[in-house]
């Protein structure tokens, strides 16, 4: 191994003293081994940086929950107020849905209980209509009897 490689490693990081930089650059021009080493270190860095990390937003939420459990903070007033409001909205929503269900049920019950009345009304109306249709017949019969006399 070339004895300059350690300096090349520091040069790669930009941590070399200014007076040594020119010497390393001059060495790199003539040393294949050091140039190859530097290129490969850069490739290795790229390989690791190319990797995707298996993160998800749920992990951040889990960290905050852990901190809350450890007592780092108490749920703020604002958050608890929002939670209370949310609870009330949930309750109102449930109440509204229940009221709607009751209304539908009552309507159905009323519709069923009114059915005999409606049927009687329809029958009564039909009889009236029938009676009205018979009136001209009765009237014409009476006229014929009068003419015969």
């Amino acid at each position: 191994m070339c004895e300059w490689q350690r300096k090349v490693s520091v040069y790669l990081d930009g941590m070399l003293a200014p007076d040594e930089i020119a010497a390393v650059i001059a060495h790199l021009k003539v040393c294949d081994e050091c140039r190859k080493a530097m290129t490969e270190w850069q490739q290795i860095r790229r390989q690791f940086l190319m990797e995707s990390l298996p993160t998800s937003p749920a992990m951040i939420a889990a960290t905050l929950e852990r901190l809350e459990r450890e007592g780092a903070f108490r749920t703020s007033n604002l958050r608890s107020q929002i939670q209370r409001l949310d609870l009330w909205f949930t309750r109102l929503d449930i109440a509204f849905r229940a009221a709607m269900a009751v209304a539908v049920l009552v309507t159905l019950l009323l519709a069923n209980s009114a059915a005999p009345v409606l049927r009687a009304r329809d029958a009564f109306q039909a009889k009236i209509q029938q009676a009205i249709r018979l009136i001209p017949l009765i009237h014409s019969n009476e006229s014929e009897q009068v003419n015969r006399r």
Partner: protein, 176 residues
């Protein structure tokens, strides 16, 4: 913001966690190479921050102090010996396939497996310096402060880590 965190302000904590969670996970995952362990190490680190925040006196930057906590939490979860390293036959197979055609034959998953395996071959001290310098971009002075070691030791560990990884990942690098 740190003062607000000390007072138990939930929003300040949410801000700190949102700002530093990514950094913490990157470091922990790259040291541990295990998703669940890294997630637990990150949670441990934030709890450590909470417990130690009273004693933090701004003598060092919060970022450097935080790196130190994350590294310590990650190293504490590192098994005494590599538990998920490849066995010899798997290693030979991966290296042979990589050698055949590093660009197309080795799939991303296998490449990642090879990187996992290679970094797990490094001693934790070298691995930590490598992660902080190469992947986090910290200066030698910052790494020295995070790990509490001299700058010369940082330089030496980094050089050894680079050389070792060069040997281990040679098949991936042979294409130039």
């Amino acid at each position: 913001m740190l003062e607000r965190c000390r007072k138990g302000d939930e929003r300040a904590w949410a801000e700190i966690v949102n700002r530093y969670w990514g950094l913490a996970f990157r470091v922990a995952y790259r040291i541990l190479r295990h998703k669940e362990e890294a997630e637990d190490a990150v949670q441990d680190a934030f709890v450590q921050v909470y417990l130690a925040l009273r004693n933090f006196r701004h003598q060092s930057q919060f970022r450097t102090w935080f790196y130190r906590i994350v590294v310590n939490c990650a190293l504490a979860r590192l098994p005494p010996s590599p538990v998920e390293s490849l066995d010899e036959s798997q290693e030979i197979e991966l290296v042979e396939r990589a050698h055949e055609d590093p660009e197309s034959v080795v799939l991303a998953h296998e490449r990642s497996q090879l990187l996992d395996w290679a970094i797990q071959q490094l001693p934790p001290d070298w691995r930590t310096v490598f992660v902080l310098r190469e992947l986090e971009g910290l200066s030698y002075a910052e790494i020295a402060e995070v790990l509490g070691i001299p700058i010369g030791t940082v330089e030496s560990r980094l050089f050894r880590a680079r050389q070792r990884l060069r040997q281990l990942l040679k098949p991936l690098l042979s294409d130039g």
